[in-house]
Each structure stands twice: as C-alpha cells, then as structure tokens.
Amino acid sequence: MDIDAVFHTNHSGIVTTNPLLDQLPSYQSLLYRRKVATDGSKRRGSARSRLSSSSSLKRDASTFSRQDKQKVQTLQRPARELPKTMEEKRAHKKQMDAAHQLSSWGQWSQNTRRCLKRLKDEARASMKSMQLWRGDIHLIEGRFGTGIQSYFFFLRFLVMLNFIIFLLMFSFVMLPIIVAPHASGNSTYSQSNDSVCAVYPSSTRRGLVLFREQLTDMLSGEGFLEQTYLFYGYYTVDRIHFAYIIYNLPLAYLLATIGYLIVSLIWIVKRSATGFKDNMVQDEDRFQSFCNKIFAGWDFCITNKNAAGLKKKSLSYELKTDLEEERMKQKKADRTRRERCRIYLIRVILNVFVVGVLCGCFYSIYAATSYSQQAQMSTVKGNSFMDLLIEYLPSIVITMANFITPLLFAIIINYEDYSPAFEIRFTLMRCVFMRLASIGVLLFSLWSRITTCNDKTCICGYNHQQYSCWETRVGQEMYKLAIFDFLIIAAVALFIEFPRKLLVDYCNCGLVKWWGYQEFAIPQNVLEIVYGQTICWIGTFYSPLLPAICTIKYIFIFYIKKVSLMKNCRPATRPFRASSSNFFFLGVLLIGLSLASVPVVFSIAQINSSKACGPFVNYTTSWEALTSTVSQLPSGIRGLLYILSSEVVAVSLFVITCLGMFYVIALAGAHKRVINQLREQLAMEVRDKHFLMAKAQSLSGAKPPHFKSKSRSRSGGSPSYHTSFTSNFSEAVSLVHPPPHSSSHV
C-alpha cells in the first residue's frame, strides 16, 4: 500500500486530503529523505487522488482496533497490577468476572490453574524463608544499605558452593570407602612395584606426644594429620568390589575433581548472567548516570537515622564525583599536546614502578617458599614456635604483600590523573592481580622444587627424595594458607578494628577523631574471600576435606564480619552499587576459578603422580586413570570418545561457537539501530504534536493555552497513566483526525 500521502476521512468516509498534515515536520523529513533517495516527489500529488476509501477505512479500523486491543490488554491484566485505587480495582474485577462466563469445565480448569499457581508461589515463599541467614542480612541491609548486603549475599553463596563441592567429593570418594565394610565390599589396595619411588617415610611422631606438638601438627597439617582422610596420601584404595559393581576409586577421584570445577563454573556463570545483562545495558547508556542516582538512588529500606544521614552524604559525594568526572572529561578534551605527553610519561614511569613492586613481591614470595620448604626438609621435627613460623612463612609473606600493595596502589593512582571511576576500577584490577598472582607464584615455586632433582633427570618423574608424597605436601601448603587466612581475618577484626573503635570512642584527641572508625571497604573484603575460595579450589584435589574446612571457615567469617560491621565499622564514603557489585564479585570469582584450574589440570596431566601414596600409584600420571578406563571400554564407545576428543571436533566446536557469537553480536547491533530509530521517531512525534497544537491555536484564534495541560490534573481520582508508548501514540494518531476540532482537545 502506498503511504505517500497523509490522509484521513471525514465523517462520510470519503478520502480527503489536508494541506495542514503535509506540513507536519515528520512528514517533511520523511519526504526529504525519500527525495534524497529516489527523487520521486512528483508522485505525491497523483497518489493522493488515486487512493481509495477502503484503504483509508482499513487504516481507521486499524487505529480503532489498536485502541480496542489496548483496552482488552488492560482488561486482561490482573487487577492487582493496575495503578488504580482499591475501589476501581474491585470494579475492574467485577467487570472481568462478568465478561468471562465460562462453562463448568472452564471454571474447573481455571480453578486448578489458580491452585497450582498459588502452590508454586507458596513453595517459592517457603523456600525463600528457609534461606540461610535471612534475618541477619535483612538487618545489615537496613543499617548499611544494599551495597554491603551484596557482600554478605556473596559470602552466603560461597558457603553453599563449598558445601556442594564437599558433598561431591565426599559422596564419590569417601563414602564408598567408609561404606565398603558395611556393605560387604571388598577393597583392594594399590601396591607399587617400584621400590625406590615407593619409599614413604612416616612423619608421625614417636613416643610421648605433647599436646603442644599436637597443636602444632593441627596448624601445619603434618604429624598425625598427614595420615588421615584430610590429605591425598591416605587414599590408597584401588578398587572396591561391591555385590554387582566394581567401584574404580582413582577414576572417581579424578572425575569428582573435574566435576567440582565444572559445577563451580556453571553455577557462577548462571548467577552472573543477570548481572552481566544489566552491566551491558549500563555501559551502553552512560554507566551509573545521573538519572539512576536521583530516581533510584535512595534506598527506601533505610530505617535508621544514622544510615539515612550517611546515605545522603554518600549520594551527594557520588553526584559531586560525577560532576568532577564531567569536568575531567572537559579538561581532557582541552589538554594541550605538551600536557598529554607529560601525563603519558608519568603514567609509564608509575606503571613501571608498579611492575617493579609486583616483581619484588613475587620474588620475595618465591624466596620465602623455597626457604620454608628447605627448612622443613633439613631440620629434625622440632616443636618450637620458630619452626611453626618457618612453616607459615609463605603465608605470612603473601599476607604482608597483600596488605601493603593496595595502600601503595592507592597512593600511586592519584598521580596518574585518571577519571575517578577509572581510578577505582584500575586500582581494583591491580589488587586482584596481586592477590591471585601471589598464589600462582607460590605454586610455581613449589612446582619447581618438586620437579627438579639433584641429578639432571628425575627417576620417578618427581623429586622422590624430598617429596615422596608431593600431593600431600601441596595439600598441606594449601591447608596452611587457608588456616592462616582465617586466623588473619579473625585477628584483624579482634586486634585492629576493635581497639580502633575503643580508641575513637574514649580518646578525645583530634587526630584520633579524624581517623575515625574503620571503613568497611567492600572491594578489599571481597578480594579476601575470593582469595580464600581460590585456595579451596586448588587444594581440594590434594586435600578432599578442604571444602568442609572452608565451609566452616566461611560460616565463622560471616559472623565475625557481621559483628565487626555492626560494632566497629562505618560504611564506606565511596558507595558501592548493588547492581554493578554482583557482576564485579562474580567476575573476580571467575578469574580466581580460571587461575585455580590451571595448576590442578597441569598437575593431573603433566606431573607424575607419586608412587608412594595416593590412589594413582599404579598410573604414571593421574590422567592415566581415565585413559586406561576408556581403553577398556567396548570399542564402539571408545571410538566415539576418541573422535570426540580429537582435534577435528574441538576445532569445529570452536568455529561453531565463534559463529554463534558473531551472530548474537550482529543481532545486538541490529537491535541498537532499531532503538535509535525508534528514539528519533519519538522525538518526531512530539514535534508533530507541538506543530499541530500551534497550528490549531492559530486556526481557531483561541488564547494560547498552558502547555502543561492542567485539565488532566487531579480530579478526585488518581490520574490514569498509560504504561506504554503505544497509548501516547494512539493519542497522537487521534489528534491527526479532524484538525479543526482539535481545539476541543486543548
């Protein structure tokens, strides 16, 4: 249908044209565009007369049906969602019930649907009420807002994740061993023939063991703890023969490890899916814009007077920061070339300095680990405090480095002259890198010690003289890191934050008052627990009970942090938005997961498993447990698995994933273009409206009315708001109809 001309019908249904409507700004710009494209402006005059009344009637019908459809849509929405008062809602409900006189079958099905829906709602509500720590987090939200609440949600998520990982490892690795004697299972143990590599000197203490020594053993994971289910070395069962099946424990161990990594990945990605969407939308449309701060900035849940005052301060701080950023942008645009060179030079120098600092930290961690390992080898099992200190030396160095470097980064970033938002993000990135890389350095130093022997090549594939059961040693290091992390968090809360609060409360010195309470800095706290979780992920392969320890550790940390927050802390002046924080937390967690999977996968696949202990004694590497099982499968499945793991399938999968990604990106681009076009159309519509109203005034010669149409203001009832643009559009369209009468609309 040719819609060149803007036309309407008069009351008799005959097509007429209106020169007024041809002057509409939107039509003019449409014509202009079309003229530019096809140069067919001459068509306008002839087309108008040619058009029949049926098409115009159709167009009328379509506008009317649009209005009807909207009415039906309003009717179909549940009454509770309508923005009307109670009486209007009841009238609406009555109307709806009257409209739908269903048969008995219809009513029955409707009733069942309603019952099911209500059941679902109730189930969801009861599930929600059973969530862990709901009341505590609710309290925190009320006093400190949604930013800090998101930290506690994150902590709760980690507790659940660790618990699930523990259940996985327990049910597949430990449960069969424990159940075997009771279920008449016959366990066979793995024996190694290789005599040199299979030497495993016992590390249990002999003779009278003091309690102090037992405590030292508990803290360092050695001594009596080494020969428990806590560490890899104790799992020597090879097969368990139950009534009908043979349970292959090494395979189960390996698959459980891979399983927990995959489960963590899927759960984190699922959880971050919504946050990612929001973040993408934000980035497109002026991230954390003014509108969001003004209209969605006040947290209506706040009931505490102090919290309210704090929120106001933080909001004004945010707005000032945003204005500052605008000024910075302006300044940046105005920068001269000379200034730009100077700033770049400063940035390069400072980045080199940062890299130097990082290298220094990493080297000290490496040196500390080497020294600690060396010292543990050479000295006889002493029981002094110094020995414990030496055992914990890597942990201490890591913690100190992670304490000093954020302060350093915060000072350096001031000289680099970035915009405030970028400053925060960049500092955070540096801290994340520092935290996670320090674990990597520790593992690297361990690996270099395990795989280098005195002579050139290692007989057993690893350093069997010093590390007869190297997996247990790695497990012990991770165990020590986890314990020390927990001790540090507890110690900081007890010995730094609490005295600070007491000092601020009871000392009247001006300096102390200015120092103030401890700020609950969310990013640093999040990095702490992500660090702990990364250790857990790495350590679970070497120490299957570590997830349980981490679950309990995080439960304690929850209560410590909560009490510390309530008593000792004040909220940060730089507020952390709940919406973006979810994405940040899970993003950092994903980085931690990817970092954690590298050493685990590497050690499973590359480093020879120790021959003296553990379930993989009969295999060269741990991965061989899987390959040997696959080679024993029937040939059909075996062939299939070989094909699936070949390069052909991998490359094709990669190519298909890339194609899918490009498709989605193209789709997103197309949507964006449509959105821009619709936006332009919106602006056009309103310009049309202005134009028509001005014309109507001039035609009717009436007094120019207020543009703020006061006639629609409160008239006893709440004004009904249309909830979609189509309603305004239909309004605009109805205005197109008889223009001489438009003065009555005004």
Partner: protein
C-alpha cells in the same frame, strides 16, 4: 480470580510491637477468620490461608496503632475513616525517607495525604518487593512530581535533589545535575520529563527495583 497481596510476609520486627495488645489481636484475628473482614477484603487473600489472614491482621494492627482512637477494630460495617498524614509519616518505615510526604500524598485519594485502610494497604502493596516494575514506575513518577502536573520539570527535580542530598550541593551543582538529568532522560525535547520519558529511563535504571521497596 483471587488476589494475592504483594506485601512481604517476613518482617519479624513488626510482630514485636504487635504483641503488646494480644487481646485485641486475638479479637481481630477471630473476626477475620469468621469472614467478616474477608468479605470486605475478599480480594486480598483466600479465607483458608492462615498466613495471609495473619498478614492482613498485622497490617490492620499497624494501621490501628497509628491512631487507636480513630481506627475501629471491627471493619464489618465498612467504616469511613482516614488517618491524617502527620501520623503516617512517623511510622518507622517511613520516618527516615525524604519522600515520605510525597509517598503518602500519592496514594491518598484527596491528594492531601489522608489514607484510608484501603489506601494504606495499596501503598505497601506497591512498595513491596514483588510488585511489578511498571506499577512501581507509575507511582514513582507520581511521587517525584511535586506540583502534580504530570511532568517532571526542573523545579520538581531540584526539590527531589535537595531532599536527597540534604542541601550539601551548591546551587550551581544542583542546577548542573538537574540539567544533566533532563538531558539524559528527555526524549522529546521539551525540557521536562513526561511519563513516557520517565518510564523509558527507569526501566533501564539498574537499581530501581532493589531500592524502591519498603519492608513491613
């Protein structure tokens, strides 16, 4: 079609203030179970659901304790009573809210802030966690529209901003922020925000749903 109230059911602190007048509570609850209140508020919950009736009785209890001399315990005769806004804005949930006056005014029929029980329930229903986004957007627009002209003009924004920041920003900064806000959200170029502009902007505001709710 039976309704479900949107109000959140798990506000434990409320029950504490409630227990002081247990006799009255029991009486109210009995009346509810005897369908007297249910016939009035039959749309709100199913009669057999104990928790919902407790919820309604709790809300009614809160309403009652705002003005015990005004609000009757028995609603069978459908009394017409409204509580003046001065009493409602002193509720602990609303006391610290800078927009409390506007909230109460937006939900009142006369625009002055006198709320009947219907409107009281309406208010907490819209402000609960499970109310849909469009509904919240409508009422948010009403709340921020100080001069009630269906547009958020610059003066409305300035008042909102001053209430939010407690006058910590200088007048130039306030002016600048209002300008930027209108610039960001105004799609039709009339230098003020109509409801369409506001709705379009608020659906893209990521914090809106998480901040625009009150727990009772």
């Amino acid at each position: 079609m039976k309704w479900v109230l949107f109000v959140d059911e798990h506000a434990l602190p409320c029950f504490k203030t409630y227990n002081s007048t247990t006799a009255q509570i029991r009486a109210t609850r009995l009346k509810i179970e005897k369908n007297s209140l249910c016939s009035q508020f039959g749309f709100l919950f199913k009669e057999s659901q104990m928790c919902k009736s407790v919820l309604c009785s709790r809300l009614h209890g809160r309403y009652h304790e705002l003005a015990p001399h005004l609000v009757p315990m028995d609603y069978t005769n459908d009394p017409e009573c409204k509580i003046p806004p001065a009493l409602i804005v002193n509720m602990p949930e609303l006391k610290e809210n800078p927009f409390r006056n506007r909230i109460v005014e937006s939900f009142s029929e006369d625009g002055q802030g006198n709320l009947s029980f219907n409107e009281f329930v309406d208010m907490f229903s819209v402000l609960s966690e499970t109310a849909p986004r469009e509904l919240k957007a409508i009422y948010a627009f009403k709340i921020y529209d100080y001069n009630v002209d269906n547009y958020l003009c610059k003066e409305d924004l300035e008042k909102t901003l001053n209430k939010l920041t407690k006058e910590e920003l200088t007048p130039e900064e306030v002016e600048l922020v209002c300008e930027k806000t209108i610039e960001e959200a105004d799609l039709d170029g009339d230098n003020k925000l109509s409801f369409a502009d506001f709705e379009n902007m608020i659906t893209r505001a990521p914090d809106f749903l998480s901040t625009f709710h009150i727990r009772i």
